[in-house]
Structures are given as C-alpha cells and as structure tokens.
Amino acid sequence: MKLIRRVLGALVMAGLVAGALRVRGKGGTPPQHGGWRQLDLEPSVDGR
C-alpha cells in the first residue's frame, strides 16, 4: 500500500511538473525576429 501511494505521488508530481513546463516553458518557441530575404551575391573577399 505504501509503495502504491509513493508511485501515485510520483506520478502526480511528474504530471504537475510537466504541466507547468508545458504552460510556462519556453523550449521550442519559434524565432520571433528575423526573416528570409534574397541571398546577397556580392563578390566575396576572395573575389570569386
């Protein structure tokens, strides 16, 4: 019984942490600044 309580407690804690990270975390947030433009093909330093 003690073991089951501990397992359930661990699962609840893991769920709470995962939920907090899901809501508050910043991992995987896409870039908000910058974009794509046509490549500048000015001759480079070596002249090629």
Partner: protein, 329 residues
C-alpha cells in the same frame, strides 16, 4: 540505350544527360535553353548499361550527367577511361565514397568528376562555400533538407533514414543511428519549420573535404513520425511521381575577423528536382567550358567560382535566400 539528340549536332563538345526521371528531364530542359548559345550538342538517354562507355560512343571532351538513381561509381570509372567528364547527382553515401576514390582516374584522363551535383549534396555545398567566405573562421556547418524529387530520390530518402548517419564532430567521424537527433529547422517560406533528423547523407563527407578546419559538420533531413517508424521496413506504397515544394537550409557558424561569433544561414524553398536540375546543369556547362579543374570536384571546393555558379543557379529560376536577424524567443 538510344541517344535522343535534342540539339543540332556541331563540332562542339557534347553533353549527354543519362536519366529521364524528374531530375534528368529538368537538366535536359535547362540545357536545351542554352546549348544554342554555348555551341554544345545535347543528347539524353534513359540509362547507361555496364560497359556502354567502352563502345566508342563517348570520347574525350564529352560531359555525361548521371541523373539516374545510385550507384554511379562504376559507370563514372568507365567514363574516366575514355576521357569523358562526369557530373553525378548521386546522394548515396557509399556511392559518394567510391566516387571520391576516382580522383586519380579522372586526373590521369584529364577529365572532371563532379561528385554530388544535386540539391543536397550540390547546392548545399555552393551555399556553404558562399557563407564560409563571409567568415574569418569556420567552425561548424549544418545542412538540413526537406522533401524529395522523384521516386528514386524518395527511395533514397527512405534508405537514408534507416542507415547510419555520418557526422564530423569535434575532429572525429561519428556514426549515429539515422532518425535520431531531432532538431527543429526553419526553412525559407513557404516551407517553414520541420523536425529534422540525422540521416545517411553524404553532405558531411563532401563538406569536410573542402572545409577540413571545421570542427563540426552535420546533415539532417525532415521526416514525419510515419517516415521514422517505417524506415526499416520496405516502402509500404509506391513513392509519388514528384514530391512537393522542398527546401534546403545551410547554417555556418564561426567567427568574424574581429573575433565576434557569427552565424550565417542561407537556403532555398523550391521543388527538389528543379533545384537539383539547375545545379547539375550549371556544373555540366562549367565542365563543358573547362571552368572546372581536372579530377574529383565537390561543389564546396574553394577553387571554384562559387559566386558565378550561384548566379547561374539563380538565373535558372532558383530563388536563393538568406536568413536575417537574430533568432530570439
């Protein structure tokens, strides 16, 4: 093996496109728009049977674009014997290793072998070299590719996700299971962000040859959960005749002349077959006009006129883009 001339024969050098798939047809079409200006003769054929190069049909000065599925190494070796130059679009890692070993063969015959003249590898190398020229020190090069060209390319994509991904990491070659190492890569619009994974791609091998001082070189390809789940099984259904809009992203990290850390990123969003065809076309024309050195040439080679070649790729309708700004959350 039947030749199908699509331009008026002249005494000029001949460019032969082998392969009538998505890439082969694009190369033939693009070359067909310029042969009149360059004076080259153009022919296309579906395939090149083993031993065909020795029948006398090919000779010194000919340029053969191998636009079929891999392997190309044995055919290229035969063509080297008769003095023909070869432009290979192979994206198979093992085949690429064998092609790189043909350097002596092509040097001795005074011909050129362009290894990996497609989108990735190919255009990826040109972009890597261009971006490298902006930095004083190049430390890392990372390539990511999204989507495929024709069925042969799709089958190679499938194989690449089940193999061993080679990467140059802190000065040593490492091998990791393909399908591992997820990274969210941002491609030019309209493709946008896709999860990319390590795959058995030849880009690190070719880029390390031209950037021996870089300490990390990797290549990834986009894949879905189903792609990764079924990678080790036979393809469950026939591949599409042609994939949708694909994309390429090349990221080079290093330092500027003043020591500041720099990250430069370039890429394109285009049908993979079209981008591969344009790259192969540009290298075929460069080989035919003796702009390339003899022996094995990779597209990121520092001795190539990279800017000129990229301009030609652009003139064939490929919109090359660079990422500006600093990614911030």
């Amino acid at each position: 093996m039947t030749a199908d001339p699509v331009a008026t024969p002249t005494d000029a050098r001949r460019i032969v496109v082998v392969g009538v798939g998505v890439v082969g047809r694009r190369v033939s079409r693009l070359l067909g728009t310029t042969v009149e200006h360059t004076g080259h003769r153009l022919a296309s054929m579906a395939r090149l049977e083993p031993g065909a190069a020795a029948t006398g049909e090919f000779g010194p000065g000919d340029v053969v674009v191998l636009a079929t599925g891999a392997p190309h190494a044995s055919t290229a070796a035969e063509l080297a014997e008769v003095g023909a130059s070869v432009v290979s679009v192979s994206d198979d890692l093992g085949d690429t290793r064998q092609l790189l070993e043909l350097d002596d063969h092509f040097r001795q015959s005074g011909a050129t072998l362009v290894v990996g003249a497609a989108m990735s590898p190919g255009l990826s190398g040109l972009l890597a070299r261009h971006l490298s020229s902006r930095l004083a020190v190049v430390e890392e090069i990372h390539v990511a590719v999204h989507a495929t060209a024709g069925p042969a390319c799709a089958r190679q994509h499938h194989r690449a996700l089940s193999g061993r991904a080679a990467g140059w990491h802190d000065g040593v070659w490492i091998e990791r299971p393909a399908g591992s190492g997820r990274e969210l890569c941002w491609f030019p619009e309209p493709v946008g962000a896709h999860d990319c994974y390590r795959a058995e791609l030849p880009d690190p091998l070719l880029l390390h040859r031209s950037h021996p001082d870089a300490i990390r070189i990797s290549a990834r390809m986009s894949a879905t959960r189903r792609d990764r789940l079924t990678a080790r099984l036979p393809m469950l259904r026939s591949p599409h005749p042609e994939g949708g809009v694909g994309a390429l992203r090349v990221e080079v990290r290093g330092a500027a002349a003043d020591g500041a850390r720099e990250v430069v990123i370039a890429g394109t969003a285009e049908l993979v077959g079209t981008a591969a065809g344009a790259t192969a076309t540009v290298f075929a024309e460069a080989a035919a006009t003796d702009e390339l050195p003899t022996g094995v040439v990779v597209t990121s080679d520092p001795s190539l006129p990279t800017t000129r070649l990229l301009e030609r790729v652009q003139r064939r309708g490929i919109r090359l883009q660079e990422f500006t700004g600093v990614p911030q959350a």
